[in-house]
Symmetry: C2
Subunit: 461 residues, 2 copies
Amino acid sequence: MSKKEIPYKIYLEENEMPKKWYNVRADMKKKPAPLLHPGTLQPMTFDELRPVFCDELVRQELDDTTPYIDIPQEICDFYRMYRPSPLVRAYCLEKKLDTPAKIYYKFEGNNTSGSHKLNSAIAQAYYAKQQGLKGVTTETGAGQWGTALSMACSYFDLDCKVYMVKVSYEQKPFRREVMRTYGASVTPSPSETTEVGKKILADHPGTTGSLGCAISEAVETATQSEGYRYVLGSVLNQVLLHQSVIGIETKTAMDKYDIHPDIIIGCAGGGSNLGGLISPFMGEQLRGEAKYQFIAVEPASCPSLTRGIYAYDFCDTGMVCPLAKMYTLGSGFIPSANHAGGLRYHGMSSVLSELYDQGQMQAVSVEQTEVFKAAEQFARVEGILPAPESSHAIRVAIDEALKCRETGEEKTILFGLTGTGYFDMVAYEKFHNGEMTDYIPTDAELQAGFDGIPKFPGNME
Amino acid sequence: MSKKEIPYKIYLEENEMPKKWYNVRADMKKKPAPLLHPGTLQPMTFDELRPVFCDELVRQELDDTTPYIDIPQEICDFYRMYRPSPLVRAYCLEKKLDTPAKIYYKFEGNNTSGSHKLNSAIAQAYYAKQQGLKGVTTETGAGQWGTALSMACSYFDLDCKVYMVKVSYEQKPFRREVMRTYGASVTPSPSETTEVGKKILADHPGTTGSLGCAISEAVETATQSEGYRYVLGSVLNQVLLHQSVIGIETKTAMDKYDIHPDIIIGCAGGGSNLGGLISPFMGEQLRGEAKYQFIAVEPASCPSLTRGIYAYDFCDTGMVCPLAKMYTLGSGFIPSANHAGGLRYHGMSSVLSELYDQGQMQAVSVEQTEVFKAAEQFARVEGILPAPESSHAIRVAIDEALKCRETGEEKTILFGLTGTGYFDMVAYEKFHNGEMTDYIPTDAELQAGFDGIPKFPGNME
């Protein structure tokens, strides 16, 4: 096959797969702000973070100068079980849209966890195992992260305790059973198993839980249990580092066929997928070697980048975690109950927040009925049934391709298709039955969230 | 990469993908028995089958002499959206089992339909479109076939009417919503929309339906509606022809790396996957060029090959279809309610029945708790969460690998991993909770099924 013939799906050979992760912070002149100790307001040190995270992950979290970090052989071996993921040319979608644009997507749903989350889960489980730990704790909302971590822990024979937001635990019993298949214990949060859980239940009887609350419970359990550490599926620097495997594979595949994306689009909740997908491209841009239009897509019901404040804020409801500087809606903000998909975290990765603040990338928000329209249109021509989260990126990719139809521009559009929607059929059913509604928080509602952001000199200035 | 280094996953290049299906009947000296007209007991003619199936599919159904049949370009284009499927070396499973055996599986679950069914669905939809039809009708049980057909019809803009066994319709609402996402109409069967459905409801009020009943409804609707034909996801010769793409890809990949399988294992319900996987290998064996140990695996609760009778029988409950010669439990046989997975059809493909009768392949039956144990063991080391149907093959592959551990033999084992179990978590939950039971029909129960097999000279002799 000649270099210029683009197959439907580009799979790298095993010997072309990444052997190092890329740390975009190394190429940032102005670095992301460090985590702060909530008591002293001083940057968190290695020793202060060790009780919470594995040692090697703390090192990765704090390292903002090393550009490339070796992927351990054991993780490479695991990656080979489900990677490389395909880079797909959306020929059928292009034809359906009658657009001169060329559309590509990197599909991360071809593994049982159903999403890109596994890329970081296996790394975090590996380092926990290396340190001789018994197990890890975490939270999960929609369930993709919990599933991925369960798989990873099963592979390394680590115990895995998942706090699942109660409303998801009850509405998504199948997700729960997948985690149990991999041997994880799953507790609905808030629960009576932690002090912070008991307190929340006492203060808010009948609450159906939130991600911020489940994080607090998982952190408490990790720090109170001998041989356990806490792991997180998004937001953190270490997670973006591991997820760089998505972007590196994508860039290698595109370079191989001389494809240059003009627009790179990703959905953004905590930023794990978007940060991973764009990182090597962003590195080029930061080094002045190339220029791209990066677009973060978030739900209009949880608009941390487009309507949030760039400030230090709590990462969790129980306020047991360090403070992170990020675009935030306030740790008390919870998206309206009508919001169907994930992407419901109140804040955004510090790396992406800083890049956004520097004007290196754009952000847009979209409403969910439009998202599901795009999801269905995509499914019918491209075959893959996308997760609601991923469909935010599809919506904007389609919109950009339709703009090209108007202007006649032959732009190359790349987006991240983070996962599949097999466990989201309740939301699809609402959409099919015309019962899905949109919701945009009012300024007053946002202000109530902002009021919970901590006040100290230099913050929220 | 040298020829001998076996990657975790072998993906063919696009230019190595099959351009022809292989028709194993052409290499059979004694051909499978033809379909018979239930009234005249004469072989069904092209003209008699035309009101039920598309013309081109009737030709394929009746053609037992042409070895290779071109795959139309439009179908090749669609195949490229999700094929080639990976041939995976189960390194992690081998290590876990501590076996000298080499285990490979061909994984057909990497598409939204979640199974191999799409390979034939797209072909059948294509020929319907070519003939200028408005749409097609079909039945679905567990839902894999209905999902695959919905996707295929959506791609070709054909109407798709699915009769879904009522108990599945009610217990698997998510499957139903996937089909609706692709624009199909889904009716629980038996229904008031057909004469045969009304009759069954009158005779058996409160019935939760069966596959044989849903087939009758779908056939009636196709033959009574202008511009519609009936399509079926298994059992038929045409389906095995289309599914040969699985085996051809597998054989091409194995030949490329000089791998010779000693044992080839597939689960068997109607025979679509097993027939497709083994066909090019079986062709070699029939031509005397090679020898393989083929093993069909069926549930102990629905043991058509291992305990059935080789005779002409009805394909459906309403007896509106032609008679097929097959290993059968009788068209009235319904597996015990405790049976969790698919593979619940009372008969078996005529091609596979004849090959089995000739001693060209073996068959074993397995009980479902052992199947789910294998499924969970596989999921934990290989990552993929298998469908219950596929897990029948996993069970026997593991058993064969364990035998090799005893004997020290380094056998190469190949099995078909037909799909994923995302929509089967109710069954997994039962298994996790220790609520899953086994059931083996008694001889008396089987005899009741056999009593429904039609009596005529030469049948059941």
